[in-house]
Amino acid sequence: MHIWVLAEARDGQVKRISYELVTAARALDDSADVTAVLVGSGVGPLAGDLAAHGADRVLLVDDVRAAQYSPDGWGNLLARLAREDRPDVILGGATARGRDLTPRIAAGLGVGVASDAVEVGMAAGRLTAVRPIYAGKALARVVVHSDPQIATIRPNSYPPCERPAAGTVVAADAGDYVAGAVVTHLEAAASTRPDVAEADIIVSGGRGMAGPEHFALIEALADTLGAAVGASRAVVDAGWRPHGDQVGQTGKTVSPSLYIACGISGAVQHLAGMKTSKYIVAINKDPEAPIFSVADYGIVGDVFEVVPAVTEAVRALRAANG
């Protein structure tokens, strides 16, 4: 089988999702010919990193005209290259980039997309996917009937591939490239913390934090863990935290390895966005709070006492382990 993975790079670095997609491709067929597709200008040197993480081939479009991301420009370009290279399967990330570009390629090819999958497989020669619907209140198993078979995969669903492969570079040209919507500027968030959508650990605060100033406690715990800061909608709507931090049905749906909910009641819309986390910790003074029903570990208590105590205990653990 011939599988394309849509690699992503930013600031001269390949993003981790690219390597996760290689693992997903290997899960479909361990002996597949996995081609990492990379577009941009001056991206050639990144081919080595893709090889180190399991790409058999790197399909490279290194062209100044395509230096800036454009959904229609890159989408039409990659649809044309897919018609020439004829992959059986195309996997993109369910990221801001992948959710934007992958459907545009699919539209160019006139085929469907299984979007935001947390698991992919093959059954009777067809791509299947498990995708949360209604923000994770249910799981849909889908089968993709059109060719090439396309899916986007949610970050953190597969570990990054660490098995090197040949990474043979195949250069493609951008042809008569035209772009309408073009990215002109990227403004990095002021914070150095990871983004909730990508983080491996998230510490979230809710109305129980009693005011924006008390999020310093959440941030201190997040920083000792190298975690992102998340929030319930109640605190986002109150203006305590930025919109981008909201977790839930109308915010980010996240699946980190650890989610720590502090002063969050656990409304259905919130649970929908974080229930697929590997481990959930709840800290809440109300023993009846619904958040405890999904928590692996819970502490019934006051966030103003418990959160700083947890931060302290993490520091002690780190100190003891050097």
């Binding site: 980039r97 209604y134 249910a138 772009a179 650890l258 002690a316």
Partner: protein
């Protein structure tokens, strides 16, 4: 600046979701239907663009009869016109087919839109596909996850949310835009607005009216074969004792048992 806003009607976010028939179809009997929350941001932005630049706001929804109520709710906020696309032949379209029908309907409007707004995804199937297929079908550029937009002559300068920051995108108009939370604060309908739409007739267009032969529409490419509840989470453990003891025990368990820190 004429805008079209795409409206999807979805089950209320408090709805319990189950598949009683095991046929890959969610049981939607007794559901309360609401406007997709992201579409509300799209409508709000269109109304603000109209206030600043003039023009009209036209709503389009494809779906069964009940969808008219979603259009009325949004008309009451101040949109000018609404069109419902309703035809039994369109009952089970995939994202691509939905976009093809919406594209045909947009082609039947008296004036072509300068901007088409949509939600970034429906909070039902969580696909986030229709607006992008639509943009392609109309031969237009698109910008997704929009949190800010400024119009500058024949182009728009847009901020979109990405992991760890914001991208600025410049696009010529017309173009398709999808709304992300944070774009704006939505308004509520005034009593006057609600009264004004009570008697408003919403035109219903069928396949013939928009000139679409149902047989020409791409069949559903992604088929749901099964819907299951999410895996039950094993019942958790409450850690008691003084806050400092509970905290130490928690950190020990996360380190030694869960191995996540």
């Amino acid at each position: 600046m004429n805008t079209v806003v795409l409206i999807k009607q979805v089950p209320d976010t408090a709805t319990r979701i189950q598949d009683r028939t095991a046929k890959g179809r969610v049981d939607l009997s007794g559901v309360t239907w609401v406007v997709n929350p992201y579409d509300e941001y799209a409508v709000e932005e269109a109304l603000r663009i109209k206030a600043a630049h003039g023009g009209t706001v036209t709503l389009i929804a494809l779906g069964p009869e009940r969808v008219a109520s979603a259009l009325k709710d949004m008309l009451a906020l101040g949109a000018d016109e609404a069109v419902q696309i309703v035809d039994p032949a369109f009952d089970d379209l995939g994202a691509q087919g939905t976009a093809a029908v919406l594209a045909a309907a947009i082609g039947k409007l008296p004036a072509p839109p300068d901007m088409i707004w949509a939600g970034w995804k429906g909070v039902d199937d969580d696909q986030g596909l229709v607006p992008i297929y639509l943009a392609h079908a109309l031969g237009l550029p698109h910008v997704s996850f929009v949190v800010q937009v400024a119009i500058d002559g024949g182009r728009a300068i847009v901020q979109r949310e990405v992991e760890g920051g914001k991208e600025t995108v410049t696009t010529p108009l017309p173009a398709v835009f999808t709304a992300q939370k944070g774009l704006n604060e939505v308004r509520y309908a005034s009593l006057k607005g609600i009264m004004a739409v009570k008697r408003k007739e919403i035109p219903a267009w069928d396949a013939a009216a928009i000139g679409v032969d149902p047989a020409s529409i791409a069949p559903r490419a992604v088929e749901t074969t099964e819907i299951t509840p999410p895996p039950e989470r094993p019942s958790g453990r409450i850690l008691g004792g003084a806050p400092s003891d509970a905290a130490r025990e928690l950190v020990r368990l996360l380190h030694e048992e869960a191995k996540v820190i």
